[in-house]
Symmetry: C2
């Protein structure tokens, strides 16, 4: 039988990142392409212990249906953690548990975005969320970034140029893919601009607890006294991504609609994950835990940077991140970036071509590619950077 698909899915291609992740399951390929947190950062023993206790004391409620908004004690605990640790959430906000931060992008688009509406975003930005917006047939408008984050003049111009803006999607801290962090001053400017123009900000903050250098900067949501910001948090980097758990803090009427939308998508998120996360938050000192995560990521990042300094030796540029999982590499003008990435792949190193992250997608042009230092082992980092150096030497000289 011939199927006729809905317009929104007729021509959608799978995310380049997920496809590469699949390809890079070839054990002979070194993957700098993933966005996986470092396995050594998973609190395995704690999760095992919590899970044991749950099955010993309360197995039925770990396995039974629960309400869409999330396990009530976890919502309460998160409200407290959001206020004290992340400095977000007021009495005008509500909170909902979700199946990963990704579902926040999906639910935000589902609740806010009619077909053809504009979603503004940093350019480049996280392809997974851009794909969520594309599937609700948003028109993506990417805004250039400068050293302080999204460029304010270009953002203002885009707001003037477009009607029907559903929201502005931002990753202000350790942005994926660039690793850039928006300055405190820019955060306030962007907040005020959006408030003035009645534009919702969707602030995605999955890398919040991975800082290993520099001064912490509060989320844009910490400035929010007027229901301007929907804040998306995630357990993927502080606990584990396989449990698929994230949350959103935002204006009550939006959270209510997100709950209705989520109800029709997956009823609620896995209860085992929610119960484990709740006891995890009750068990750890999150400041100390974030410092421990930072130590792990600092070591891996510094190793990678030292290897790049040694092997690439100025042939291309790369960022020196203060947190997060990624280094953003930029080839000199005149070098064919896609060809460079293909040569790496031929030598058994997977990296993600930068245009995967552009609002314009495959049509967009960039000299950059993304590498990840959290997933590979030290030995794989050594071998992978060796390949980068070799290809850079061949192509750039």
């Amino acid at each position: 039988m011939k199927l006729k698909f809905a317009d929104r899915m007729a021509n959608v291609k799978p995310s380049a990142i997920r496809e590469i992740l699949k390809a890079s399951s070839d054990p002979n390929v070194i993957s700098f392409a993933a966005g996986n947190p470092a396995p050594e950062a998973f609190p395995v023993e704690l999760v095992r212990k919590i899970s044991d206790e749950l099955f010993a004391t309360d197995p039925i409620s770990v396995l039974q249906y629960n309400i869409t908004e999330g396990y009530a004690p976890l919502r309460d605990k998160l409200r407290e953690v959001c206020r004290t640790h992340y400095h977000v959430g007021t009495e005008n906000d509500d909170i909902i548990l979700m199946s990963g931060g990704q579902q926040g992008a999906d639910l935000a688009a589902k609740c806010m975005c009619n077909q053809g509406d504009v979603v503004l975003c940093e350019d480049p930005s996280f392809v997974g969320c851009l794909n969520s917006f594309r599937q609700f047939q948003a028109k993506l408008i990417g805004i250039e970034m400068d050293d302080e984050g999204i460029n304010l003049e270009k953002l203002e111009a885009a707001i003037r140029a477009h009607e029907h803006i559903a929201f502005l999607y931002l990753i202000p801290t350790f942005q994926n893919p660039t690793g850039l962090t928006m300055s405190a001053r820019r955060r306030r400017e962007v907040y005020e601009l959006c408030k003035k123009n009645n534009i919702l900000i969707v602030e995605d903050n999955p890398y919040a607890d991975t800082r290993f250098r520099g001064e912490a900067i509060d989320p844009i949501k910490s400035l929010d006294d007027d229901g301007v910001v929907l804040y998306l948090g995630s357990f993927s980097k502080i606990l584990a991504p396989g449990i698929r758990l994230g949350y959103a803090v935002g204006p009550k009427e939006l959270i209510t609609r997100m709950a209705t939308a989520k109800q029709a998508e997956d009823v609620h998120s896995t209860i085992w994950s929610q119960r484990v996360a709740c006891r995890f938050l009750e068990s750890v000192d999150l400041d100390a835990f974030a410092k421990h995560l930072g130590d792990i990521y600092r070591r891996k990042c510094d190793l990678t940077l030292a290897l790049l300094d040694e092997k690439v030796a100025g042939r291309f540029q790369y960022t020196r991140p203060e947190g997060g999982l990624f280094i953003w590499c930029t080839l000199p003008d005149g070098v064919d970036m896609l060809d460079f990435c293909a040569r790496c792949a031929a030598d058994k190193l997977a990296v993600v071509p930068g245009n995967a992250f552009l609002a314009a997608g495959d049509e967009g042009k960039t000299q950059s590619f993304r590498i990840n230092y959290s997933t590979p082992t030290d030995e794989q980092l050594r071998q992978g950077v060796e390949i980068l150096g070799k290809v850079a030497h061949e192509v750039i000289g």
Copy 2:
């Protein structure tokens, strides 16, 4: 700040069932309103043992990201189980794991349904899935049922009357809410009609393994040699609903698009759930396990029917199911059904008014309401039916 929501979510109300579930968390209310499987049916010890083993042998891969389509060994095992136990799936089909069967309805609508397209369904049908279709702005057309299932002449008439039919949604076995099972003959007739008219059937089969009386009838998907049927399975009733795990078996090009859609919704389903489900299927004889489930549900159903026979004594009609979780009650003409349900609620018994399940929603008219016998304890069943009898006596005489 004033938010302007997308049209699809501007006026959506939360599912009546979920809202009642929330209300019925009041410990003083006896809930016949839920659709929870019986807690005594959960294989708690087995899940605990499997989870222990996973954390002892392979904790990292339980916690790390995985691919969208699902944990590969579980997909393989399910392909085998689907062929041998459910008699569905050919070499032209593919399989994807999902976050509950509910996500199958969501992804089917996302992939197949443009705004304004028609979704045909049994009337009444499962409100959770109807809400998924509504959120993609489908036009729901409910088709009356008779003793053999969806009425064939009315289905044919609806197919003739409408263009742009996205699919036909069916729950052929122990239909929710009516508990009716479509005859083998009707299944073949519906399949042939849809094949001839190029209409996708979305066959939802969450109650597959709960039969406790009568002859098993194979799913419509077992007839499918032409990619006409998308089959939705669930672990909610054979393992546990809180793990949020279901799967879809269907034409490859549809499963590919569902994977792309799911990628943008939640990346993948919880890995712990998938690993537990995989070992569960490897550990149990599913025929024997289904018989064990049937024994649990037969006992609860028979107790409820005996109580209804005693307390209601012909004042209203009710079905005598052969499986599933529900009894469908129908009041005599002239009795105000909503008033009857409200009186029950005032007496601390929650039931679900039948119009919650109609394609026309709150606008629709029915004399029926749904009661669930799987969640309440025996004592609650006794007290609840006592209230039903009392209200019936007051209202009907």
